[in-house]
């Protein structure tokens, strides 16, 4: 028995949804600021971002997704600082989807690229300062006084006469006033909250008691739970389906074929999974059934050897004749994001409208895509953003929201689509594999005079479907971290060769191109330092004369790690420094290597220059988190292919760093008055090279292929 045949309109719908599922479609029109977050009860709505209740409770509405990075604390802090709010009364609420919450850096509502604080540093402070000015104006009106004679502190307006009114008392009146066009922001020396330690996260209690609601925690009346049998080979499709046994599983309601695979809809996850296990599917594997990691490596290696589009060219690298020349090929594998919360989305397609509940990083793009998938106006797509059980870029991708919407439309019911851990691990959208061939040259004095890198990797820009390779043919994510080599080397050339093995969907993974390219560059610079017979820290430092912030982070990490001080027997250090996402991060890793060759990372000392900070406690935790993410990948991370299939499936064969392997981590922040940089990602890139360089210091063995444990 085959799955139910489709009628013509359903086929047309699926064709459209397949197109939408294959790529983010942009150019759609977002509604204006029509559906702003509405105030509840008697709260006064000061703006889209802020409500104040008569009780003095302050609600900051945040359009950014909380995935652990602390944005649901940082955004309220920005508002509260300029509002002079009483922080103990500040709460946060997740916004729906609305252009009012567009990320200024992306132009649409989305969370990623370590942009949240960078993009909202000024707008959210202005939102606070504007509301403060309105509250002062309301108080001055009430008192028939001059606003210039009023001041604010901890949620109160004070008049010089001693009179005072709370924000809660003033809010209703203030909300009716015209917002001032220009407001003066505080000088950083006046900050009470920003940049100061001790402000607690607003989500800790909910997340320590099981109350926090993630996407998987959504239950709707009449909802079905869906799992999909996906083609085991990229680009494959179901040739025939026998669903008789699946439909015989108690609790299974429907089996439907969709462009992504064969979906089983049931009364809960367990019957859905059992139903899927019972499906009998003949797959047409398509063109990629012989895909293998060996073949991919060869393809990338040949691409790197051949060279490609020129991304940077200084001096004359081809004509340079250094006294000493070294050459090496480095390789990094595909990686899965493996968020703790498996991917999921709950969708409900009703007459002329769509509503979804998801931990998504990309509300703006999703709204446009789902409007096309369901055939409704973008304004009829409602998105309820839940807490994200990890994001790391994976939750920027459209696959769960598209497929859940497709299944709800087909079934006419609310549908929660759940990825098993195996689906999640094997669900593509991987950090691309890359092979990079580098050459370096030294003059007779041991000074670097030549650096070239030839990168071969799939293109994230093209794979994203919302960007295109630029006219120069260089994928910015393919080369970032090596093209922006900070070292002062006169002859420098970077090339990029786009290689696309077997239709493997690649995607943004925490720190994106820096995640592999910084391993390549910072390991190779270490090779150059050793070739020059110089200390790896001093060698880097000597080449960073024109990069004071790189050098500053490097020096602080070295100083705090005691770079020149002896270590216990068997423990060795490696160092790396990387600029990414607007911040500079240097790390020193202390590593010993066991008799069997297994490295143990004892301590990591990090220094970060991320400009001014919002919450330095969260900054330190983000750097530590990013180190663990990068260290896990460096030690164990690899997605490999055999016969077209992904070989890994779950945490037993796609290993995670665990408590017993966790190094001590120290994070030091470089004091700064500069504009804020990103913080979610910059801690990831330096750890792999810092550890690999320490392994070299310990063993003399240079590791040029990740993961470190093969």
């Amino acid at each position: 028995m085959r799955a139910k045949p489709m009628n013509a309109s359903r086929r047309e719908f699926l064709r459209t949804s397949a197109m939408a599922g294959g790529g983010l479609v942009i150019g759609f029109t977002l509604p204006g600021a029509a559906r702003l977050a509405q105030g509840a009860g008697k709260e006064a709505r000061m703006s889209a971002y802020l409500r104040i209740a008569p009780s003095n409770d302050i609600t900051v509405v945040c359009g950014l997704s909380e995935m652990g990075q602390g944005v649901h604390t940082a955004i309220p802090m920005l508002v509260a600082e300029e509002l002079d709010a009483d922080w103990s009364r500040v709460r946060v609420e997740q916004a729906g989807v609305d252009q009012a919450f567009a990320n200024p850096i992306f132009g649409m509502q989305a969370t990623g690229g370590s942009t949240s604080v960078r993009g909202h540093w000024e707008p959210m402070r202005k939102a606070g300062a504007t509301a403060r000015a309105m509250l002062i104006a309301a108080a001055a009106q009430t008192w028939k006084a001059d606003a210039a004679d009023c001041r604010t502190e901890r949620g109160m307006v004070f008049h010089k006469s001693g009179r005072k009114l709370s924000y809660g008392q003033l809010a209703e009146k203030a909300a009716k006033l015209a917002p001032p066009k220009d407001v003066k922001l505080k000088d950083p020396t006046q900050f009470n909250l920003l940049g100061k330690s001790g402000t607690k996260r607003l989500d800790s209690a909910a997340k320590s008691t099981g109350r926090a609601k993630f996407g998987l925690d959504v239950y709707l009346p009449g909802m079905l739970t869906a799992v999909i049998a996906y083609p085991p080979v990229p680009g494959g499709k179901a040739a025939s389906v026998n669903d008789a046994k699946a439909k015989a599983v108690p609790g299974v309601r429907q089996v439907v074929q969709i462009p992504s695979g064969v979906a089983v809809l049931a009364d809960g996850y367990w019957p859905a999974k059992l139903g899927r296990d019972a499906l009998e599917i003949q797959w047409d594997h398509g063109a990629n059934a012989t895909l293998s990691s060996e073949g991919i490596s060869k393809m990338l290696s040949a691409g790197a050897a051949a060279g490609g589009a020129v991304g940077r060219n200084e001096g004359d690298a081809k004509a340079a004749t250094p006294a000493k020349k070294i050459e090496a090929e480095y390789e990094a594998p595909y990686l899965s994001h493996s968020c703790m919360e498996p991917l999921n989305c709950t969708a409900w397609v009703r007459e002329g409208e769509v509503e979804i509940w998801a931990g998504t990083q990309s509300q703006g793009p999703a709204q446009g895509i789902l409007a096309q998938v369901a055939g409704v106006a973008p304004g009829k797509v409602k998105i309820n953003t839940m807490y994200l059980g990890g994001g790391f870029g994976r939750r920027f991708a459209p696959d769960p929201v598209v497929n859940a919407t497709v299944l709800s439309k087909l079934s006419g019911k609310p549908v929660k689509l759940v990825y098993s851990r195996e689906d999640d691990t094997r669900g593509y959208f991987y950090r691309p594999a890359s092979v990079t061939r580098m050459t370096g040259g030294l003059d007779a004095a041991g000074r670097a005079t030549l650096f070239t890198a030839s990168v071969a990797s799939p293109s994230i820009m093209e794979g994203s479907h919302f960007m295109k390779l630029p006219p120069d043919g260089v994928d910015e994510f393919g080369v970032e971290g090596v093209r922006d080599c900070p070292y002062d080397i006169p002859n420098l050339r970077v090339e990029y060769s786009r290689q696309e093995p077997g239709g493997i969907q690649v995607w943004f993974w925490r720190s994106v191109g820096h995640s592999q390219n910084s391993f390549f560059l910072e390991s190779f610079i270490d090779e150059l330092a050793h070739a020059a017979g110089k200390d790896p820290f001093e060698f880097r430092r000597s080449l960073l004369g024109k990069q004071p912030r790189s050098r500053g982070a490097l020096e602080l990490a070295a100083e705090k790690a005691g770079w020149d001080k002896p270590l216990p027997a068997g423990v060795h250090r490696g160092i790396a420094v990387v600029f990414s996402f607007g911040s500079w991060c240097a790390q020193v890793a202390e590593v010993s290597v066991g008799a069997d060759g297994t490295p143990k990372v004892h301590r990591v000392v990090a220094a970060v220059d991320c400009g001014m900070t919002v919450n330095p406690d969260i900054v330190k935790r983000q750097i530590e988190s990013a180190i663990v993410y990068g260290l896990t990948a460096a030690l164990y991370g690899k997605i490999t292919f055999k016969d077209g299939r992904v070989e890994q499936s779950n945490f037993h064969d796609y290993r995670m760093l665990r408590m017993s392997e966790m190094p001590k981590v120290e994070v030091h922040i470089v004091p700064s008055k500069e504009a804020p940089g990103g913080i979610g990602e910059p801690g990831t890139p330096p750890i792999a090279p810092a550890v690999a360089n320490a392994i070299f210091a310990a063993t003399g063995k240079r590791i040029r292929k990740l993961p470190l444990l093969g």
Partner: protein, 154 residues
């Protein structure tokens, strides 16, 4: 219909005996604090207590819970160790994304209930079955030690 004792209350659920306890808690009873992470007892996100012992509910058939006291993250605060652990978690701001933390807290509470002053090695042994993708392990360790110190003083 299966009858279970969960957090001190009797709950009934319509599920076959081999359904994992996790999916009965979540899909039948909507006790969503217990999380699905891997389905094969590799990550600890689904940890609950059966008669005080930590188990991975994703790999425990619901039939194995019959006649036992099931404690989940929603009920652990009623125990002395659980209350101390949750308070320490909040005061240390342990959670980042937070998804694994129910399981971490259940493992930590079981540890402290049986060991009032765990060493680093004890913590490694008790907590290495719980994966945290945000890398909060050092904060978890610090919070456990704090909770232990608090519980000792109590």
């Amino acid at each position: 219909m299966i009858s279970l004792s969960i957090n001190g209350k009797t709950r009934k659920a319509d599920a076959s005996p081999d359904t994992p306890l996790l999916w009965v808690l979540r899909d039948s009873l909507h006790l969503t604090g217990t999380k699905f992470g891997c389905g094969i007892a590799q990550c600890g996100a689904c940890t609950v207590h059966l008669d005080g012992q930590p188990v991975r509910s994703c790999s425990t058939p619901v039939s194995a819970a019959a006649g036992k006291k099931v404690t989940t993250i929603e009920g652990i605060g009623a125990t002395r160790a659980g209350k101390a652990v949750q308070a320490a978690w909040i005061s240390h701001d342990v959670p980042q994304c937070g998804y694994c933390q129910s399981g971490q807290i259940m493992s930590a509470s079981a540890l402290l209930a049986s060991n009032r002053a765990p060493s680093d090695a004890d913590i490694d042994a008790a907590m290495s079955g719980n994966v945290c993708r945000c890398g909060t392990y050092n904060q978890i360790r610090a919070a456990i030690k704090d909770a232990a110190a608090g519980a000792k003083g109590a």
